[in-house]
Structures are given as structure tokens and as C-alpha cells.
């Protein structure tokens, strides 16, 4: 993944001091205690190009489970900067697991989906790891989908 976006150490809207959420130990999900009031991000208040990007991201499913990556809580934010030749989009995204074997596939799908949106000139993806993903970041819709799939959440 490459990003030409200027470096910004702080993820907007996220609490950088999030307390080490514990997850995935023994593949059981422990409730995180991080302050993640702004997550999950779903883009429900977004308008224009940003709303279209969220809609495109909604169509991408987790490779192992029939749940949208947005409902799974992997998307931490979408930033749109309007330019003369179209918008530049930056998607902030995390993964449930650092060793995720589908990392390249998923990040490519997300970049492509965002880039295909009308009015978008270029799309970049930045993987972020703080706060770490926890089951708390799954939306109600996502929890329903996971239950439907047979998981206990």
C-alpha cells in the first residue's frame, strides 16, 4: 500500500489513548474497554461523494463471513478532498487481525471500490491499528448478520 497523503499521526475522531482492547485471544472475543464513541463509523451523515463511497464500501463483504466490512467495523473513516479534476478519497481502515491473510485482497478491493465512485479522481487507503478493533465495533446490523451466519455475538 502506498499513500501520498501527507503524514498525519492522529486518526481524526479517534481517541489515541484507547486502552489496549483485548481481542481474539484464543479466538474468543473479549469486550474491549477502549473509548471508541465515534466507532463504528458508518457514514450515515455523509453526503455527496462521501456518501457514495460509503455505499460502495458497504458492498464489500468479509472474505470469510457474509457481513459487510462497514458493519464489521473495519472502516474507521472516509475523508474526501475536492480537487479541480475530481475528489481525492482517503479511507482509514483496520483489520481484525494483524496477520490477516486476506489483507492485500481486502485493501485492494476497498481502494478499487472507492476509486470507481463517480467524481473520485483517486483513492488511497491507510491501514490504522489504534484503537485496535474489537467486537464492540460491529454495528447492530453486523451483529444480526453474524448471528444469522451462526456466530454468537
Amino acid at each position: 500500500m502506498s499513500s501520498d497523503i501527507p503524514y498525519d499521526p492522529e486518526v481524526p475522531g479517534l481517541d489515541d489513548d484507547c486502552e489496549d482492547p483485548v481481542l481474539c485471544a484464543y479466538t474468543e472475543y473479549v469486550e474491549g474497554d477502549g473509548d471508541v464513541e465515534d466507532l463504528p463509523a458508518t457514514g450515515e451523515d455523509a453526503e455527496g461523494v462521501e456518501a457514495d463511497v460509503w455505499e460502495a464500501l458497504y458492498d464489500i463483504e468479509d472474505p470469510e463471513m457474509p457481513v459487510s466490512i462497514v458493519d464489521l467495523g473495519l472502516i474507521y473513516g472516509v475523508e474526501v478532498t475536492e480537487g479541480d479534476d475530481g475528489a481525492t478519497v482517503e479511507v482509514l481502515m483496520t483489520l481484525t487481525y494483524s496477520g490477516c491473510p486476506a489483507r492485500d485482497m481486502l485493501t485492494q478491493q476497498v481502494e478499487d471500490a472507492a476509486a470507481d465512485v463517480d467524481g473520485v479522481a483517486r483513492a488511497d487507503l491507510r491501514l490504522v491499528w489504534s484503537p485496535g478493533w474489537t467486537i464492540d465495533m460491529v454495528t447492530e446490523q453486523g451483529k444480526d448478520d453474524l448471528r444469522e451466519f451462526g456466530l454468537s455475538v
Binding site: P9, V22, D104, D112, W129
Partner: protein
């Protein structure tokens, strides 16, 4: 150690700052990559199906963590090809503990090695949680959350293996062999650069500090299992509790390595070289690049 000033992002570091960040990242990334590479040798060979899966999963964790650290080297313009496939074996900085081959069927080695490594890993992650470099600091929590069970896994095996005299002897053999190499986890890449890492607050505890706590943790635990560290010779300057202790000739951090490392490096870069690749493979062309 007083809190240091926050450092700039990767594009705005001075040469000295960047060198310090790079040394620190190579220490972390190379350890994780190489220890995982060794662990994977046990796949379909571990003593039980459960232990096979557990070790494979730990290896996958460590590969994920290696990637998180290599990502930060990519900030400086390197790519995966530069960092893994085309980096000469003499440029790597992993501790020699991670690169040593396993004896055939020597599961005691796995238990000892991963215990010594994972205790050290906990200490060094703690020392990075308040790093002055945000790109490092932001990744620590994720890694810690995935490390929790590694040490417990190793301790469970050590506890079990040390209940029986014969298997305890095998653990002792592994310990005698590995402990000197484990000390290289705390060896400097270069004294001046390591001092700078501390001064810049990239790491909030010095190597010497962490090594002392590591010894204070692992020695009493190992002794409680009926193991002895008296036979292990740790170097004097590396320990206040034990005299006559010696590090191996090759310490890894300074890019000196054991013979086993060249073999391992040749093996994991073999396909890359045989296929005459000049870049890491991708499954298909990026649709955006296709006319």
C-alpha cells in the same frame, strides 16, 4: 526516563532520527519474521495436532507483527522486495536466538525458545507503548493484544515437560544452548545509535534495563521448574547476578550471524531467486493500471 518530544512523521525526520528509527524497526521486524520462519518448520511435525495448530497460529501472529513493523520501513521508500527478498543476509538484524535451527523433533527447544523470546517481547512492547514516534506507538496495542497467549503457551509446555525427569533434561539441554543466544535480544545494533534511540524516546527503557528485568523474570521461573542456569555462562557485563556469562560470537543485532542463518535465508529466498523475480508477485495486474 523523561518523556521525550514527539517526533515528526517519516518524511520530516533528520538523518540521525531516521537512522535511529530504522535500527529500531529492523530489530523488531527481523526478529518477528525470522522466528516465524523457524516456527513454520514444525507444521505437520509437531507432537500433537493441537500443538501443531497452536505453533502455526503463533507463527502467523509473528508474521503479521513483522509486517506491521516492515510497513513503517516502507514509509521511508523501501518496499517488500527491498526489505525481504533482496536484502542480503548480512544486512539482517535479528537476534541469533530466532535463527538457530531446531534439532529434529526437539520440541523442548520450541518451549524454551518461545518462552525466552516472548518474555523479552512483552518487555520491549511495554517500552514502545509511549514511544515518541507515533507510527510505532499506534501499533503497540494491537500487537500486545495478539501476544497475550504466546507466553502462556510456552509456560504451559515448560511446566508439563519439567514434570518428568527425562523431558526436563531435554529442556535443560535446550536451555543451555539457547540462553546465551537469548541474551543477544538485548545486544545493541550499534552503541551510538542505540543511545540515540533512548535519547529520542523512541523506546522508554534501555536495553540494559530490559535485560535485567528479563533475567529477573526468566531465571527464578526456570529455577522453580528444577532447571539450572548455573551451567549457562552469561557475560559479566550483562548480568549482576551471575558471573562468567558469555554471549555467542555472533549476536545478530550487529549483522553478524550464525551459519544457520545463511542456510535459512537461502531457503526462504530460493523461490524468489529461482524464478528470476525482480519484484514480489501479485496475483493479477492492478485493474487501474490496465489500459
Amino acid at each position: 526516563m523523561a518523556a521525550a518530544e514527539p517526533l515528526s512523521g517519516p518524511d520530516d525526520l533528520s538523518d540521525d532520527e531516521r537512522e535511529a528509527v530504522e535500527h529500531l524497526l529492523y530489530r523488531l521486524a527481523d526478529d518477528e519474521f525470522v522466528v516465524a520462519e523457524r516456527y513454520t518448520e514444525w507444521q505437520v511435525r509437531a507432537p500433537t495436532l493441537e500443538s501443531d495448530l497452536a505453533l502455526a497460529n503463533i507463527a502467523q501472529d509473528e508474521l503479521g507483527h513483522a509486517r506491521l513493523w516492515y510497513d513503517l520501513l516502507e514509509d521511508f521508500g523501501f518496499d517488500e522486495t527491498d526489505l525481504v527478498w533482496e536484502r542480503d543476509s548480512g544486512q539482517w538484524r535479528q537476534s541469533t536466538l530466532t535463527e538457530l535451527p531446531f534439532g529434529e523433533g526437539d520440541w523442548a527447544d520450541v518451549a524454551v525458545r518461545s518462552y525466552l523470546y516472548d518474555v523479552a517481547e512483552e518487555l520491549r512492547l511495554d517500552a514502545l507503548a509511549d514511544s515518541s514516534y507515533a507510527r510505532i506507538r499506534d501499533r503497540v496495542g494491537k500487537i500486545q493484544s495478539e501476544e497475550d497467549y504466546h507466553r502462556e503457551h510456552a509456560e504451559n509446555w515448560l511446566d508439563r515437560l519439567c514434570e518428568d525427569e527425562e523431558s526436563r533434561e531435554r529442556v535443560q539441554d535446550a536451555l543451555d544452548r539457547l540462553l546465551p543466544h537469548a541474551l543477544t535480544i538485548f545486544a545493541p545494533t550499534d552503541e551510538a545509535v542505540e543511545d540515540r534511540i533512548d535519547e529520542l524516546g523512541l523506546r522508554t527503557r534501555s536495553l540494559v534495563d530490559m535485560r535485567e528485568e528479563w533475567l529477573d523474570t526468566v531465571v527464578p521461573y526456570l529455577e522453580s521448574l528444577g532447571l539450572s542456569v548455573d551451567e549457562v555462562e552469561l557475560p559479566e557485563q550483562y548480568d549482576t547476578h551471575h558471573e562468567n556469562l558469555e554471549m555467542p560470537d555472533e549476536v545478530g543485532r550487529d549483522q553478524s550471524h550464525t551459519e544457520a542463518w545463511d542456510d535459512l535465508w537461502s531457503e526462504f529466498t530460493n523461490s524468489y531467486r529461482e524464478l528470476g523475480r525482480s519484484e514480489a508477485s501479485t496475483i493479477m495486474a492492478d485493474p487501474d493500471d490496465v489500459e
